[in-house]
Symmetry: C2
Subunit: 193 residues, 2 copies
């Protein structure tokens, strides 16, 4: 194979991987990870199951790629953020129920025995709580107006974001996710008008 042909093959391979990951995100949103079959993912991108295994040798390898993809596109809150950026993230999530559904389904499954995403979520939450602590400290200092420390407030901030996602996915007409999240930030700081 010439250098040019090899480059083209590589680009095609990466495009194909991206397609497969996109299809896997959809199938997980619809069925969860345990309910997702490689053949359903393969079918969605016009591959045989064997063809898919060429790109991802196991179902778990595909899950790892999905989670990496998620972390690439989905802002993991950064210690340098301010709380108003968190509001923007929640507003953004409210415009993309499919990705929130994939995440919420995987989080739910991750607590079951021996789930391949468990370590990912456990580490991710430790990291997100640490980032949120830094965000709150930058905004409020060592104590929030109400007296709680940033460390003790961070798990609540994370819990509200996750818990609201379930209520909103189940009943989007009744639950104003960004509005509720802004209300939570009011609880942390200034009184509501």
């Amino acid at each position: 194979m010439s250098y040019g042909d090899a480059m083209k093959a590589r680009v095609r391979g990466e495009e194909r991987r991206a397609e497969i990951i996109g299809a896997a995100l959809e199938v997980i949103a619809e069925r969860g990870y345990r309910g997702a079959s490689l053949s359903a993912v393969a079918e969605r991108v016009g591959l045989t199951q064997q063809g898919l295994l060429h790109h991802f040798p196991t179902k778990d390898a595909l899950l790892v790629a999905v989670l990496q993809e998620r972390d690439r596109w989905d802002a993991v809150p950064d210690p340098r953020w301010r709380t108003d950026l968190l509001v923007s993230l929640v507003e953004y999530n409210a415009m993309r129920p499919a990705i929130v559904q994939t995440f919420s389904a995987l989080l739910g499954e991750s607590v079951t025995e021996g789930h391949p995403a468990r370590a990912y979520f456990t580490e991710r939450y430790a990291g997100v709580r640490a980032s949120m602590t830094a965000v709150l400290r930058a905004e409020y200092g060592e104590r929030l107006p109400n007296g709680l420390t940033p460390e003790r407030t961070a798990p609540l901030l994370v819990a509200v974001m996750d818990g609201l996602q379930y209520q909103w996915l189940l009943d989007p007409e009744s639950v104003d996710m960004p509005g509720a999240f802004r209300d939570f930030l009011h609880l942390l700081g200034e009184p509501v008008d």
Copy 2:
């Protein structure tokens, strides 16, 4: 069959149903609902799959029984409760990770397409938000100290309880679920010492 024999058979049938429901709770905690097989449940109670189908004709029928059982044992917050009873509920949950795991796995799955527990959770959350609104109104009147109404605070209270369960199930050493929930109640009302 004599009346006495019929009664005995009925009691045996009910005992057997209770055993099956208990086994189903365990299997769902371990594998989720979609990952749970009727044969795994049957095996755990020493029945054939055919024998299990005599008690529950479909997997969905068994799920309905599991959810009903949950509502019988698990306090659905009542409008007459006070917030200190919510703290007791969270403390109680922290002593029974298995049942919290079953619930959290089912909630996660319920947002996927056509899940048989979706309607149950959607209705349950509408009911729980209404109950929480009543609890908050009884405690604080029409406005919480911070200015939010009970209606706007209720979804946050529910979200915090659910979201903390995931963080705690994933990392029980790092997350003090009852302590964090008490912190949230401090955010609603009195400052922390």
